[in-house]
């Protein structure tokens, strides 16, 4: 095997941004090399320029905003920096392929899956007959372990699961056995167990097809799992590079250290002493019935027979993958949905059973914090207006509510002057702090945090988790913390409940559940956690 000739060689690449932004270059002086059979992970947070670098290689930069200022890109020895579009069309999908983050939107929604894979062959092997193309597509589908390829051939993207869609994308990328595969956050949109399977598939197929892979990720867990070499980027510049082992075990640059440190490690908080619970769910169930026009009713058992208790000052983690029913449970606790059966008792009163008037007096004592900090605040209202709205409704005077809002903003680590600014003036992490302050303004007894740190970069994630911890000890509220990320859960919860298919399959003290899981599904979930053992 010719290990010496690099598949991709990039020299001093710079890409300019349009004027008026906080920096002039999206990518500055980046050089990298990838060899056959090698996985290079490019790591960085949002805005680090990692995706732009990938777009340059594929020749898919948005033309009117970004421009290559200098540098060369060589693919298998050929300079493609300013190759004509026609040549790039020949290379794309053929010698280099790309896999994208969101497999649902990355596939053509109105074209059958088989035809989408076949298109690569139609484009690059014009001589191939219909039957030959079809059998090659089926072979590829089998390679990426798609179930029932014959049937899958005629299905559409919306009819299969996220993991299956990403397998289709991989099959598409492998169709021509390209020298280089670029994968841009290929597992970020997937559940952990699916992520583990897809990463395994990467390794397996790589050895089979002998391609080189450039994998873009923000997650050092993924790096630990799969990388041969690592390249760390920050604000368009290359910060550090080396073998995966070196970078993970002895990072030289401060930023790399910070990134690695920010990856949530397992950490076990103690279970609190038994106390009278403030919130109690008893055999709660919710079934969505969708009756189509055909009179056929499809039932989705979103939540089934769920019971838990939450003591004052305690944090209970609800972990599960997408579709497990954890968010539906959260919405029922805050009263956005009513359970079909069972009771949700807040201080002994059944919340869903209350009259609307009574509910209005109670519900502010359970506050919710949402996943997306960008849509959680009304963009047209000042931070102060959003924060005092609730307390004023509860009878506080405007001046009093405003004074308290300033205090709370300070408490969550912001300037009190933030009160007169608009949400768009803040970063995602800062907005999440504002949302927390807004919830606290109502002096809630229970906070329901639904994936509250999932949309944040890892370093910011760690800061917000610390904030939650600090506030809980200071103010003593109880928290229901919903997350898909076991590592995050382990950093904030006293107890944890694992949900799967609408049911709580296991719950108990964090350490016990993580170290001696009794349930099969919990074990699977724990095993799929990326990079925990290596780091």
């Amino acid at each position: 095997m010719n290990q010496m000739k690099p598949v991709l060689e990039m020299r001093d690449l710079s890409v300019t941004l349009p004027g008026g932004l906080d920096r002039t270059h999206a990518v500055e002086d980046v050089s990298l090399t990838i060899r056959r059979g090698e996985i290079l992970c490019v790591v960085g947070e949002s805005g680090s320029g990692k995706s732009v670098t990938a777009s340059v290689v594929m020749g898919l930069l948005p033309k009117n905003s970004l421009r290559v200022a200098k540098g060369t890109v060589m693919l298998e020895g050929e300079d493609i920096t300013s190759a004509p579009e026609q040549r790039m069309d020949q290379l794309r999908g053929n010698r280099m392929a790309m896999i994208f983050q969101e497999p649902l939107t990355a596939l053509n929604p109105v074209m059958p899956l088989g035809r989408q894979i076949a298109e690569v062959l139609v484009l690059h092997k014009p001589g191939l007959g219909t039957a030959a193309i079809r059998s090659r597509v089926l072979e590829l589908m089998a390679d990426v372990h798609l179930p029932a390829p014959e049937e899958m051939y005629h299905r559409y993207p919306h009819q299969i699961s996220g993991g299956q869609r990403q397998r289709v994308m991989i099959a598409m990328a492998l169709a021509m056995e390209p020298a280089l595969i670029i994968a841009d956050e290929p597992t970020t949109a997937l559940d952990v167990t699916t992520q583990a399977q897809i990463l395994k598939l990467f390794r397996e197929l790589l050895t089979k097809h002998d391609s080189a892979v450039m994998l873009i990720t923000h997650d050092f867990g993924v790096v630990a799992e799969i990388a041969d070499r690592v390249l760390v980027m920050r604000r368009g510049k290359l910060v550090e590079s080396g073998t995966a082992k070196d970078v993970l075990q002895s990072p030289r640059h401060d930023y790399t250290k910070e990134l690695i440190a920010a990856v949530p490690r397992l950490r076990y908080l103690p279970q609190l002493a038994e106390r009278e619970p403030v919130l109690k769910a008893e055999n709660v169930s919710l079934t969505y019935r969708q009756s189509s026009w055909l009179g056929k009713t499809t039932e989705v058992h979103a939540v089934q027979d769920v019971s838990f208790t939450l003591a004052p000052g305690e944090t209970l983690g609800i972990v599960g993958e997408s579709g497990s029913g954890k968010s539906t449970l959260a919405r029922m606790v805050v009263g956005f949905e009513k359970p079909d059966r069972g009771r949700i008792l807040f201080e002994g009163q059944d919340m869903p059973g209350l009259t609307p008037a009574r509910l209005r007096q109670m519900r502010h004592r359970i506050q919710m914090i949402f996943q997306d900090p960008y849509s959680s605040l009304n963009p047209r209202r000042r931070v102060g207006q959003s924060m005092i709205e609730g307390p004023v409704r509860m009878g506080k005077s405007g001046a009093e509510a405003r004074r308290r809002a300033c205090e709370l903003l300070e408490l969550v680590g912001l300037q009190p002057s933030a009160i007169d600014r608009f949400p768009h003036e803040f970063s995602g992490g800062q907005r999440q702090r504002i949302c927390i302050a807004r919830a606290l303004a109502l002096e809630p007894d229970v906070i329901v945090a639904d994936e509250a740190v999932s949309a944040l970069d890892v370093t910011v994630q760690a800061q917000v988790l610390d904030l939650f911890e600090k506030l809980r000890t200071e103010l003593g509220f109880a928290m229901l913390f919903i997350t898909h990320d076991l590592r995050v859960a382990s950093n904030i919860c006293n107890r944890v409940a694992v949900m799967s298919k609408g049911r709580i399959v296991e719950q108990g003290e964090l350490k016990r559940v993580f170290e001696n899981p009794e349930n099969e599904y919990t074990r699977k979930l724990l095993a799929a956690m990326p990079g925990v053992s290596e780091m």
Binding site: L60, T105, A106, E119, V120
Partner: protein
């Protein structure tokens, strides 16, 4: 599938019922007694009363409505007060000219507007894009009858290339029919073209920004192939939707165009009936037009199922 269609048809029944209520109510709540108007200035009170009874106008409104609706449901739209002809027969008499006009306008529109919109989207912000957009705004802004008269002035009067007005059935004289149809169908198509070209452009622009277009490029598709093979099928749903909404526009356009070019279609029939206060004919025509609108949109809903596999009822 059949059952699906049947259910979809069933769901337009309430809409048609409300249309019937509006149409009926509108004509009955208007001031002026149709019997008085019909009987003429010199009629005696007895003659008017007799006429009123004959037309059923002496019954309470709800009863009149039910009687009328029952008739309509069985295909009896009543009789014209003026010509004593059954309304449905009147409509079918005049339908050919209108259908021929409308269908040729739709054909012209789809053949010209969709490619124009696609090219404008593909060459976004180029002079072609600007030209298409400018023409489309103009199409929205100039009244159809002004355009009709302008076309007539140049093509028929100044250059004497085409006949001025009138209608020739394509079943009688195909050549003459085409010559007579060119100006009216272009007049009718202009607003429709403006609409379709715009929607084609905007929905394509939206689709071209989606992730799967990037995937298609990453597979090695040329830009042109991405546009026709990937983007256009995905932009089809909004385009088809607007064709459905545009049918209402087309119907209004038919009325004006038939007036300008003196074509004996149902558009002209409607105006004549309204001006003559021929209630049964007006009611029948309005229901008929609404039925066409609802029917076309029904067909479009069914077309969605074919075009977009994500849509399933």
């Amino acid at each position: 599938m059949l059952r699906l269609v049947a259910l979809r048809i069933l769901s337009s029944v309430p809409v048609m019922f409300i249309v019937a209520v509006i149409v009926f109510g509108l004509l009955r709540l208007s001031p002026g007694d149709p019997a008085v108007i019909l009987a003429g200035d010199s009629a005696t009170p007895e003659a008017i009363a007799a006429l009123r009874q004959q037309l059923g106008l002496d019954q309470p409104l709800p009863i009149q409505f039910v009687t009328w609706l029952a008739g309509v449901a069985t295909g009896d739209f009543g009789q014209s007060i003026l010509s004593r002809m059954p309304v449905l027969a009147l409509i079918f008499d005049r339908l050919e000219a209108t259908l021929v006009l409308a269908v040729s306008a739709i054909i012209i529109t789809v053949l010209i507007a969709v490619p124009l919109g696609a090219i404008a989207a593909w060459r976004h912000n180029s002079w072609i894009d600007r030209a298409v957009m400018a023409l489309s705004v103009a199409g929205f802004s100039v009244p159809a009858f002004v355009i009709g008269y302008l076309l007539m002035l140049f093509f028929s009067v100044k250059w004497e290339l085409l006949p001025v007005q009138g209608y020739v059935s394509p079943f009688a004289d195909p050549g003459g029919a085409v010559r007579h149809l060119i100006l009216p169908s272009v007049t009718l198509a202009l607003v429709f073209m403006a609409l379709i070209a715009r929607v084609t452009r905007s929905s394509l622009l939206e689709v071209l920004n989606q992730d799967f277009v990037r995937t298609a490029r990453a597979k090695g598709n040329s830009q042109r192939r991405v546009l026709w093979r990937h983007a256009l099928p995905n932009a089809a749903v909004p385009i088809i939707t607007v064709i459905g909404i545009g049918i209402a526009m087309l119907i209004s356009g038919v009325v004006v165009t038939e007036s300008v070019f003196n074509i004996p279609g149902i558009g002209r029939l409607t105006i004549d009936a309204i001006l003559a206060r021929d209630y049964p004919v007006v009611q029948g025509l309005m229901l008929f037009f609404a039925l066409i609108y609802v029917g076309v949109n029904l067909l479009i809903d069914i077309a969605y199922i074919i075009v977009d596999p994500r849509i399933r009822y």
